[in-house]
């Protein structure tokens, strides 16, 4: 059965980024249709964690996007979505085990403060005020009150609902329609065409595939991550807690396994420990070495966790681009095509800012941030 629809913008992908794009597009007065080959939040959004972090970002375009996004998440929470998406402004605590790690952490914190981040140094003897169950003997830490948390799948679903956009699930985008002038004029799906003068590629880890269907290249690759989930516990871990070497991992270019667990409690009781980072393609098979490293890291931070059971583990594939920045904005190679993908391990956090900026571009306004660093065609030039 084929159906032809017309709207202002087709958003490809019902993950958190597509949902945020739909929400802000609707607020900009655009009629959006969201299409996904699976259900809502069936991609990486349903396979990650919900850390909204500013603490792990070095000053630069990603941090600016994170700060904008953090404000927008807080606004959405205030407007009444907070409970539905399980928003918690719990703050982060980054700890350092050695004086050397602490020196690195404090240097980063100072630079972050200069960029507008709240980062409060915590001497070793005050760490247990923030986190009573932390291992003794740490060198010190930094408290980041702006770090927050949402439940990613609920966030995507409720942002979509709030957008009032039409959501077409179970429909795969098989092609991007382009007019005689080369301009994008909609998408072809396995169940009919959708006509629109604008198409947003919010296909996450599969963003490269969708780009290719529009005839342009975007080198989005998967980076696997495992998360460990414990049995439900009474609240004992108050913040997002992680070790300082995590920051180094995020920026790393190594394909090898790197682990530095973020440990966090959830409103429902289980503690989440994640996540590992490996470039192994779309290999879903269980990696006990990755899980052992996560468990060792978590029990190193919180010794009481040694006696707590991991109930399950799951893996997801972060969408990453070679320079670890997302692609956000219009694609000059295909007028009418916009990208909002490649957010790697921060797509939940960066979703609101991304959606907001895309909506500004769609509505022909000047975006709040300079989109230069996020230009979708930046890799093509390098190749030339």
């Amino acid at each position: 059965m084929s159906e032809s629809l017309t709207c202002d913008v087709v958003v490809v992908g019902a993950g958190v980024v597509g949902a945020a794009a739909a929400l802000y597009a609707a607020r900009a007065g655009l009629d959006a249709v969201v299409v996904d080959r699976g259900p809502v939040a069936g991609g990486t959004t349903g396979a990650g964690e919900g850390n909204l972090l500013v603490s792990d970002k070095e000053p630069g375009p990603e941090l600016e996007l994170a700060l904008l996004s953090a404000r927008l998440w807080a606004d959405l929470a205030r407007e009444g979505l907070g409970r539905a998406v399980e928003y918690e402004a719990k703050g982060g605590v980054v700890v350092a085990g050695t004086d050397r790690a602490l020196a690195g952490l404090e240097k980063l914190a100072a630079e972050q403060r200069a960029a507008g981040v709240e980062a409060v140094p915590v001497p070793p003897d005050r760490l247990t005020d923030l986190e009573p169950y932390l291992t003794p003997g740490l060198a010190g830490g930094v408290h980041y009150p702006q770090d927050a948390q949402v439940m990613p799948a609920l966030a995507a679903a409720h942002l979509l609902r709030a957008s009032k956009a039409r959501v077409l699930t179970g429909r795969e985008v098989t092609g991007v329609l382009r007019g005689p002038d080369g301009a994008v004029c909609g998408v072809r799906t396995d169940r009919g065409d959708l006509h629109a003068p604008a198409v947003v590629n919010a296909a996450g880890t599969w963003g490269g595939e969708v780009a290719a269907r529009a005839g342009v290249s975007l080198p989005v690759l998967p980076r696997r991550g495992f998360v460990l989930v414990t049995e439900p516990l009474p609240p004992r871990i108050r913040h997002k807690v992680y070790a300082a070497d995590y920051v180094a991992d995020v920026a790393s270019d190594s394909a090898a396994l790197q682990t530095s667990p973020v440990v966090e409690g959830t409103p429902a009781g289980p503690v989440l420990i994640g996540a590992s980072r490996e470039r192994v393609g779309f290999d879903r098979s269980l990696s006990l070495p990755a899980l052992r490293a996560l468990a060792a890291g978590a029990t190193g931070l919180f010794p009481f966790l040694a006696g707590v059971r991991a109930m399950r583990t799951y893996a997801g594939f972060r969408p990453y681009l070679p320079d670890h920045l997302p692609a956000i904005g219009a694609d000059p190679r295909a007028p009418g095509l916009f990208h909002a993908c490649g957010h790697e391990g921060a797509g939940i956090g960066l979703a609101t800012g991304t959606g907001h900026l895309i909506a500004q571009v769609l509505a022909g306004r000047t975006p709040d941030l300079d989109l230069g660093p996020f230009r979708p065609d930046r890799f093509t030039e390098e190749a030339e």
Partner: protein, 523 residues
Amino acid sequence: MRTDLAVIGAGPAGLAAALAASARGVRVALVDAATQPGGQFYRQPAAALGAGRPEALHHRWRTWERLRDGLAASAVRALTDHHVWSVERTPDGFTVHALLGPDQQEPAEVHARAVLLATGGYEQVLPFPGWTLPGVVTAGGAQAMLKGALVVPGRRAVVAGTGPLLLPVATGLAAAGVEVAALVESAAPRRLARHAPALAGKLTEGAGHAARLLRHRVPVLTRHTVVRAHGDDGLTGVTVAALDAQGRVRPGTERHLPCDTLATGHGMLPHTDLAESLGCRLDGLTVAVDPEQRTNVPGVWAAGEATGIGGAALALAEGHIAGCSAAAHLHDTAPAPEPSVVHLHDTAPAPGPSVIHLHDTAPAPGPSVVYPPGTAPAPEPSVVHPPGTAPGPEPAAHPPGTVLGPAPAALKARTRLARSAAALESAYAPPVHWPEQITDDTVICRCEEVTAGAVREALDLGAGDERTVKLLSRAGMGWCQGRMCGTAVAALAGCAPTPAKRPFARPVPLGVLARQHPQEGQS
């Protein structure tokens, strides 16, 4: 410990496999979570109770005695109280990671060159309003109470749901002195009749149960269903109703049956967690195997209910075949092709030349044939062919390194029983429209207390399958990891159940994982 073959699960399949492999000179560890071998089927009343065994179990009892005695006489290392949480591939084989029961805090590892998954299945119960009331038990739970502890669950019981297991549960309860108010089966008797040829064996078994039901005056209501269980703090009765041809409740047919126990079950689902995380291919919800019971992962065999629900006799046959195949491959030979040397008498000694003992020169202890006569239906004449004289294959096919192939009776039984299992499965299906009876306030996921209303809200939010319903409603996130509610959630979502990903077959303490981390291990 180190061994050649780790058999996981000591039910009929695992026992038959372990004995067959051991008889062929393979070092076997038989790993099971329970305190005694036997699995679901040979769950034994604790010896101390000295129970007069239920008559219905008589011939099985003999089979069990043979397996038990065979195990005792064999070189198989039976590791009970070992809860396997994962099987890891290693460069030289596999590591079976277990936790020692009952606390499941202390780890134990078995290193093996090959593994055989005989993890059985678990009972499926579909929810209905009131199903969480005390007094509502699973059919298997009721059976286990009778068999294991000889406790009678109540005084007046209704047995309801669908599937061949309801019959033995009803007769078992009746024999134990419980008044069985009704056996409520949602399948139509006509459908069973249609599959009669394939079900021949099962039907005679069923006929025995039917006679017993009659003797105990148990009313049988086919194409009926329980629409609601009643009570405040405990069960006081159930409403049953007739189903129409489409599987919908026929209005006006509801009636009330007072009872204090409802034993309910809707068939079994295979345990596939370990297979799935080993990367074994699944066929629908079951582990896919070839005629030798090999999975697609080299070194991994599977047998019994893990490969499809089919009853204890089928599990025995598959286990035997798998054990023979594993032994042959561990000896680096193909199993002797059928027809091969057969022993159906427990007393037949293992013929020297055709059995290879890898590790010592001792002949395989105990009975060389572990496909017990009682369980080999349509027994072949028990022939012992001296090596080299077997009809069919040339002597060249049986060089001195050849291992005994599986008993042809086992191969035949597997074919026949697998056919009847498939027929049973299609005959006993839960009513298609059962989700319509589920009120919004009915709890679907008991671990996380998620109601049908919350599941429907998740669907409205855009969930489309078990996984996204779980993400948006928490149904299936609790202790049982969706084993109990998965089918119901899928049905409410209107999609076919898919095997859930449960990388840990059991929850594992973080400390156990952490201590296995190389850096941690050093410090």
